[in-house]
Amino acid sequence: MSVDPSVETSVRPLLAILASLLAVPLIVASDRRPNLRETWSLLAAFVKAAIVLSMLPAVLAGQTLVCPLWQLSPGVALELRVDTLGLVFAMVSSTLWVLTSFYSIGYVRGAGEKKQTRYFASFALSLSATIGIAFSANLLTFLVFFEMLTVATYPLVLHKETAEARRGARMYLAYTLPAGLALLLAVAITWSLTGTLEFVPGGFVSTAHGSPELLTALFVLFLIGVGVKAGIMPVHAWLPAAMVAPTPVSALLHAVAVVKAGVFGVLRVTGFVFGPGLLSELGLDTALAWAAGATVLLASLLALAQDNLKRRLAYSTVGHLSYIVLGAALLNVWSWTGAILHLVFHATMKITLFFCAGAIYVRTHKEKVSELAGIGRQMPITMAAFAVGSLGLAGVPGVNGFVSKWNLLSGTALGGEHLLLGVLALSGVLNAAYFFPIVHTAFFKRSDAFPSYGEASPLMLVPLVITALASLVLGVAPDLGVHAWALALRTASLVTGGPLP
């Protein structure tokens, strides 16, 4: 192996995973001392975020950090690698985990949830798996963490242990386990055909490895494998059902970590396994783009029909995830930049909305959209944050959602997919249609249901204000802070081979 000066061995990616993994036994051991237990969660979250962020300067300087561990199977190592795409995903998940940890404490105590130890332990384990996914250097390592995430989040969906929670959890497994097996099969076939599993920008599978039919089937297997977590229709139904989980879980896992692990998988498979060349040769890019386009529209329509606030948010997530899939499928610099930016920006906006939904639930025990008229008077800050998130998701300039959507639109136009351009535009309108009425009635309708002023506890309020402000700031200066813009652009040009604009 030649010595590449831009590749540096570092133990930091491993430490980032271990930070929350080691917190798990500590959390379990502190079962009877809730304050100590929550200290471990917070400590792990801060340490993890710090480690992940500490890698940013090196990666921005063009370096790739690697941490080869040991062989998992002859010829395939358990290996971590921090590249631009992985770092973006890891930064989003780990920084938002810090906020979610505070919020979680406020939520589970406010809502009087049972079995909090199991909750916090599973949460920490999920985050380890998520960072593992982000930093996986090859498909087998990716698969290991991807399945770990399934197992770690199962108890969180099941958390309330009601009949509905059991149904949701079973549904979750019924979708994710077969998906994991499809992914396993796909990885095994890839290994059999190519003899390597290492992610390479631009892909490593080519027509020399198999017939077009076989490669198409392989791609479909991959898509089933990662697409279930990414909520691509028709395999999205687990996500609304999983909304039975406590709201912080929905916020971080079902708007950021788990579902983004799915779309991250789509990005890895399209950009780093198959590559733009092969995909367009097989004509799979257009097929995927249309599947994503259809999902965007259908999910937005279904969101309109939901009265349960969290379910409405879930369908909205399904739609927005497919924005990212669409960007990945179009395979040009702008679409990829937009996709990666949306991975980040959708996270800040959607987590804000979920945080708001949770705050409302803890304060008022209301879960339905139709019951929220007038709530703006009781919880003005919460609902203002909600308004910010809504505007962003609808793509209104000034909020970060506009920036990612602008790039996606440019990419779609560049790809010559004018019909899909229409789909995106229409989806913006639909987003407005399912979000704005909530905001409108919250502030402009009077109701006796909310007589007095009262926000949720600061533990919940502060995080949601921070994410809302972050959405606004990133809307004006998208490269501020974690340099999501620069990293997205660089990934996009690496994968698509397009010049840096």
Binding site: P74, V151, L177, S192
Partner: protein, 499 residues
């Protein structure tokens, strides 16, 4: 072979230790009952130590032999041990030690009247099983086969009221199986005039085309397959496992069928030769497809069970199917998966059966419905159980995942997408019965009054935890075992490229 294989006393030491250990256990037990377990357990620890030294020797210096009584093969009997054989002996000894820790309390509580005889029989059965692995002689293998079976009948008959009937059924079938095997050996002896495995293997190429050869092969496969509970010869197994005492099941389920699988592998790859079995006769494909059918059918049966032990028994047959599948496919990846699964399934199934034993003793619960709410009552026990269950489903990074990974690569190598689909789909079936159970264990309200507060005693608990951790460690470290131990001792044609 140019250089003669080095002699070593390590293989025969295993047999000697177990033989005299068994005698000493019974003799001392007649004087004082409480002496039986310490002697038996000390023997097991010594055997494990010997097996580890043997494995280290073989991995470093290549196969060793021991010529019994100084009579040179092929006239005399010899023990021949390569890394693969030593590996299986280590697995047997390690599982035996784990179960041995558990057995002290469990045997005293479950069948106090037979305590002495039980420990003696346990060692005798292990004597037979290790002998089957170590020997290089076809007839000697039959002798060890019968020793282990006879001890097995006795052990399985101790348990529930229904246990003797189940054991009797196994006795009839087991004896039939042994006779089949012996007939096969007879055929081979008539053809070759030799009983030494290496010698027979050497003479094999001259026999190709002889019509008696397929008959001998078929007889031997059926004979071994019966003891292996290879589908559809598994009928004796669920009853026998379900009604036996927990110690017996925890020992027999992980080991006995695996040893038979190892013998099958020996016969196919070292005696008959992989070429003969896969190319000239379709035996490989028959084994592979029968195993695949077995995986599906018995997994469905497992889903239908209400008793946890019985569910695990059916699941054992299914898991044996993975090993059979790997042997039948006879390519490097598949074989790696099969051999690795001997170890992997031994650890996870032993853990699961030990948990059912602890639960039966400590919480007096046996059915799937009764397991409700136990996760909170016995947290550590069920933490191990959960790990082992995840391994059974094949979720990474547990060891079960990697067995499946290699097997899957094996089916793809054989370009059999049907078998690949079955390997994948069977995971889902396994997931159904394990997650159903886990959901109940952790979320359903407990039933019955006498819910225990806390785990069983340390001697019952410790082995399950060790095995639970092993499930993870063996998963993460599997490549080391594969490259260092398994690959060097697989037949040349079935090694991975570059090994």
């Amino acid at each position: 072979m140019t250089t003669p294989m080095p002699e070593s006393a390590l293989p025969i030491l295993v047999t000697v230790l177990l033989l005299f250990g068994a005698l000493a256990t019974v003799a001392a037990g007649l004087v004082r009952r409480r002496l039986a377990w310490p002697i038996a357990f000390t023997t097991l620890v010594l055997v494990l130590a010997d097996a580890l030294v043997l494995l280290a020797t073989v991995v470093r210096g290549g196969p060793v032999r021991h010529t019994l009584g100084g009579w040179a093969a092929p006239i005399g009997i010899e023990f021949v041990v390569d890394a693969l054989g030593a590996f299986v002996v280590v697995v047997i000894a390690a599982v035996a030690v784990a179960v041995g820790v558990y057995a002290r309390e469990a045997v005293r509580r479950e069948n106090p009247d037979q305590e002495v005889a039980f420990h003696g029989m346990l060692l005798t059965m292990l004597l037979g099983l290790t002998g089957m692995v170590l020997t290089g002689d076809l007839f000697n293998l039959y002798v060890f086969y019968e020793i282990s079976s006879l001890a097995g009948y006795a052990l399985l008959a101790v348990g529930d009221r229904k246990a003797p009937v189940a054991a009797f059924r196994y006795l009839i079938l087991g004896t039939t199986g042994a006779s089949f095997y012996l007939l096969g050996v007879g055929f081979l002896y008539l053809l070759t005039g030799s009983l030494n495995m290496a010698d027979v293997a050497r003479l094999m190429p001259g026999l190709v085309g002889n019509p008696a050869l397929p008959v001998a092969l078929a007889l031997m496969i059926v004979g071994v397959g019966l003891k292996m509970a290879m589908f559809p010869l598994h009928g004796w197994q669920p009853d026998a496992y379900t009604y036996a005492s927990s110690t017996t099941t925890a020992l027999i389920a992980p080991i006995m069928t695996k040893v038979s699988a190892f013998v099958l592998l020996r016969l196919i790859f070292f005696v008959f030769g992989v070429d003969l079995v896969t190319r000239l006769l379709p035996a490989g494909w028959i084994i592979a497809w029968l195993s695949a059918a077995g995986i599906v059918v018995t997994s469905v049966m497992a889903i239908a069970q209400r008793d946890v032990k019985r569910m695990l028994a059916y699941s054992s047959v299914a898991q044996l199917g993975y090993i059979g599948l790997g042997i039948g496919l006879a390519n490097p990846w598949a074989l790696t998966g099969a051999v690795l699964h001997i170890l992997n399934h031994a650890t996870m199934k032993c853990c699961l059966f030990l948990v059912t034993g602890s639960v039966a003793l400590h919480a007096r619960r046996t059915s799937v419905a009764q397991y409700a709410g136990l996760g909170r009552a016995m947290p550590w026990t069920f933490a191990s159980f959960t790990l082992a269950a995840l391994a059974m489903v094949g979720l990474p990074p547990t060891n079960g995942f990697f067995s499946k990974w290699y097997l899957l690569l094996g089916t793809l190598r054989a370009e059999s997408f049907g078998l690949a689909a079955i390997v994948v789909a069977s995971s889902l079936l396994t997931a159904v019965y394990f997650f159903r159970l886990l959901e109940r264990i952790y979320t359903a309200p407990a039933t019955g009054a006498d819910l225990p507060r806390g785990d069983a005693s340390l001697t019952l608990l410790a082995p399950t935890i060790v095995l639970g951790v092993a499930v993870l460690a063996l998963g993460l470290g599997n490549a080391w075992i594969v490259t260092q131990v398994l690959q060097p001792s697989l037949p040349g044609a079935t090694r991975l490229p570059g090994m």
